[in-house]
């Protein structure tokens, strides 16, 4: 029904899609997996019309089409449910659903809200969401918003004749297990109305939901797996091109930390509305995980240590020195490095190249009298590009054009090359695929072995448990419980969950 034939896409320096053949049948659910930088997102953008292919053909029911923009693609029945949700929070649910298509409800220049509410109800019924369409979107939970987004895309059904193809980009990343199951059930039922392309980093979910799975690597489709045609590990092997280590979190590499050497000490630190009464110690070589729900104060603790937030009570010492009034600049000077969650906004500077990014936090070290020693910077960058096998054509590559995993490597290299021995990692593996995640785990172990103290806010509980020496559970800005996590005697997610909620 929908088909791509030998589709090619090139960007300066990158051949993003190499002769991709892809098809999807009516009512089919097709999975799309691949490492970061494999070309998944480029392929999706070609499908929903944000990019135009440089070569090849897009066929709908055998006839060739060309989309200049996503709206044209929508008119042919191709809808996209975005990973970063595209709903406008201060509009009502119905206004969001019909955003840009309000005309159908206009009578004599005035919107007939009753008619719109009725139509919105019908759309929400498709996704089995029994909420009031006049509700303000910001009051909905994340899972509900995801469904509203899906309902919005499903309005295409009435607007378009022909079949629908709906892309789901990482729809499960913010959902709980139960919500994921509900979503999957719904998607399966909706196959009577549309075909789905499902993109996710979670292999088990892709295998659970998809009828066929396209496996991408380096801009090519390396395999198409039918349901039940291969085990998860075999697919991962094809994706990564190597075996996935059973010891995923590198537990065998976990070494005891130096209990005598305290790097960071917090004593009854408080910040009204964010954190209260936080006392903890970070030792050299220790991986300390902060665990808690969203908004529990994990990030506030990280940002307080980094000096982006200033505590109003308590004491904070970095390497024995009073650091309560430190700015980030002073923290950096004391060897603190910060890997923020928003990699593209706070992690790297898009528009600056690899060496400029790497030395951004340590320009003093590579300059004399304010004049930079550029050749030294470039040598340093080349060195780290090799050490971390960063995929960049050279140290002059614009960091904005690197894939997520490689951007994260640049951020980590920035701090490691500066010799930071206190690392604050906020969701360092967020949005990375398995290969890139493993690289990050390796780096965390290597840093720990080198005596670096690490405060980590992990993406999942499993990750937190696997990586850490110590886990601190935070709830409502307070420390609930501290766990020691020696290899072989680690707490289970259930143990932690008990204190989180």
């Amino acid at each position: 029904m929908y088909e791509l034939k030998a589709v090619d896409k090139k960007f300066p320096g990158v051949h993003a899609l190499k002769a991709i053949d892809f098809h999807i049948r009516r009512g089919e659910i097709v999975g799309l997996v691949g490492e970061n930088g494999a070309g998944k997102s480029t392929l999706m953008k070609v499908i929903y019309g944000a990019y135009q292919p440089d070569g090849g053909q897009i066929l709908i029911k055998g006839s060739s089409v060309r989309f200049a923009n996503p709206r044209q693609a929508m008119e042919k029945g191709i809808g996209m449910v975005f990973q970063e949700q595209s709903l406008i929070p201060n509009l009502t649910v119905m206004e969001n659903i019909f955003l840009g298509y309000e005309r159908q409800f206009v009578r004599f220049g005035v919107v007939d809200w009753k008619a719109m509410a009725k139509a919105a109800k019908a759309q929400l019924a498709k996704v089995k969401l029994g909420i009031d369409p006049a509700m303000v979107t910001s009051k909905l939970s994340f899972a509900q918003r995801q469904l509203v987004e899906l309902a919005k895309v499903l309005t295409l059904e009435e607007r378009v004749d022909g079949d629908l193809v709906i892309l789901l980009d990482e729809p499960t990343s913010v959902l709980s297990k139960d919500e994921v199951q509900l979503l999957f059930k719904l998607v399966r039922e909706l196959t009577t109305r549309a075909s789905f392309i499902f993109v996710s980093h979670r292999m088990d979910e892709v295998m659970d939901l998809s009828d066929r799975i396209y496996v991408m690597k380096d801009g090519e489709v390396v395999d198409v797996v039918e349901r039940g045609g291969a085990a998860a590990e075999a697919i991962q092997h094809k994706m990564v091109g190597r075996n996935v280590d059973k010891e995923y979190y590198r537990e065998h590499l976990q070494k005891p930390y130096e209990a005598a050497k305290v790097l960071v000490e917090m004593e009854r630190v408080g910040l009204p509305g964010r954190i209260q009464d936080i006392s903890l110690k970070l030792h050299a070589g220790e991986v300390l995980c902060l665990v808690g729900t969203e908004g529990s104060g994990r990030e506030a603790i990280l940002r307080t240590i980094y000096g982006m937030l200033t505590a109003t009570s308590g004491r904070l010492r970095i390497k024995g020195e009073d650091a309560a009034a430190f700015s980030p600049r002073q923290s950096v000077a004391h060897g603190v490095g910060y890997v923020p969650r928003e990699r593209k906004i706070e992690g790297i500077v898009a528009g600056m190249n690899v060496y400029e990014n790497m030395t951004l936090s340590q320009m003093k070290k590579h300059s004399s009298g304010g004049v930079l020693r550029v050749s030294e910077e470039r040598a340093l960058a080349r060195d780290w590009i090799r050490k971390l096998s960063i995929k960049a054509h050279s140290e002059f590559a614009d960091c904005g054009n690197l894939s997520g995993g490689n951007q994260q490597k640049v951020v980590l290299a920035k701090w490691r090359s500066a010799g930071s021995d206190i690392m604050l990692l906020d969701h360092p593996t967020r949005g990375l695929d398995i290969g890139a995640k493993e690289d990050v785990y390796d780096m965390i172990r290597a840093m720990s072995a080198a005596g670096v103290g690490i405060v980590l806010v992990a993406d999942t509980l499993e990750e937190a448990i696997g990586l850490s020496h110590t886990i601190i559970v935070v709830k409502d800005g307070r420390i609930q419980k501290q766990f020691a996590c020696e290899p072989g005697a680690k707490p289970t997610p259930f143990d932690l969950l008990h204190y989180m909620i």
């Binding site: 980030p328 928003e342 790297i348 500077v349 898009a350 528009g351 951004l360 936090s361 320009m363």
Partner: protein, 313 residues
């Protein structure tokens, strides 16, 4: 060849095309002495544009540049007699400090730079009116020639203004490409939040950018006062628009982060050619701002980075 790859080269292509068009219509335009003269005349405006480049490079704007230059022409005319050559130091300091003030208001009081610099420009203009008693002032010709005569003569047929401009360009290029300051300004322009998360003192660098802009506007004003042998609170009016045009057509977008000093050199030459060509095509001075207004709109629309500008208000 797609437009994205062509974009960085558009400024100099525009320049060559413009020169060719005017040259074909009037071969006299291409005479070296004529070209040198045109280039020399644009120097005060160029120096102002050079300063503006720093403010725009970090994603801000400096609307006070013209008033700053106005004020400096008055300061230079009033104090030349009593201070001699030291008046130059006074002028540059005044520009630098007022620029710092704009930067301070922008970064510490969180007032957008277009408002803070507009307000500081108002202050500068008012100082100029008060100091001058709202009259045009004249410098003592003999003293001017003795103290600042070197600024406006010719060396081997090249106007000295051009040499001054060349020295300033060299300094600014060095700051931009070789110093920690330049790198920090680029980081602030391209990704301010990431720069802050890397431990840079973003506020300090922003204040410095506005201070440099102010200082260069002051140098522009000083040179202008020396050229005209006097000053007045409105003497440099009509500079601001072409100076902003010069920065933007050179390829430094309002959103900052790319472009820079070298681009402004090309941009100013484009402005110079446009200005000269208006003389050839007999568009009179009162209508020139219409042209620059239109060019400004086109330049902004072409250069602005819409990925950074989510919404426009």
């Amino acid at each position: 060849m797609d437009i994205q790859r062509l974009k960085p080269h558009l400024p100099w292509i525009t320049l060559v095309v413009l020169v060719a068009i005017v040259g074909i219509n009037d071969p006299g335009f291409l005479r070296p002495s004529n070209l040198l003269g045109i280039a020399g005349d644009i120097v005060p405006l160029f120096i102002m544009a050079l300063g503006l480049t720093f403010a725009i490079y970090i994603g801000g704007i400096d609307l006070s540049a013209q008033s700053m230059a106005n004020m400096v022409t008055v300061i230079a005319s009033v104090y030349l007699a009593s201070m001699g050559a030291w008046v130059a130091v006074l002028c540059v300091m005044a520009g630098f400090l007022l620029g710092m003030l704009s930067g301070y208001v922008t970064t510490r009081l969180f007032v957008p730079s277009f408002i803070s610099t507009l307000a500081v420009g108002g202050i500068a203009f008012s100082i100029a009116q008060w100091l001058s008693g709202q009259r045009a002032l004249n410098m003592d010709a003999a003293q001017r020639n003795e103290t600042f005569g070197w600024m406006i003569g010719r060396t081997w047929g090249v106007p000295n203004e051009l040499l001054i401009a060349a020295v300033l360009v060299a300094i600014c290029l060095f700051i931009e490409r070789r110093t920690t300051l330049g790198r920090a300004l680029k980081a602030v322009g391209a990704g301010e939040l990431a720069a802050a998360a890397s431990g840079l003192n973003v506020a300090r660098y922003k204040i410095l950018a506005f201070a440099i802009s102010g200082a260069l506007a002051a140098i522009a004003g000083l040179l202008f006062a020396v050229k005209l042998s006097g000053g007045a609170p409105t003497i440099a009016n009509g500079f601001l628009l072409p100076a902003i045009v010069a920065v933007l057509v050179g390829g430094t977008p309002l959103t900052g982060g790319v472009g820079g000093v070298a681009n402004t050199v090309v941009g100013t030459l484009i402005v110079a050619v446009i200005r000269a060509s208006m003389l050839y095509f007999e568009i009179d001075a009162t209508r020139q701002q219409i042209v620059f207004g239109i060019v400004l709109i086109v330049a902004i629309a072409l250069t602005i980075d819409r990925a950074k500008l989510r919404t426009v208000k």
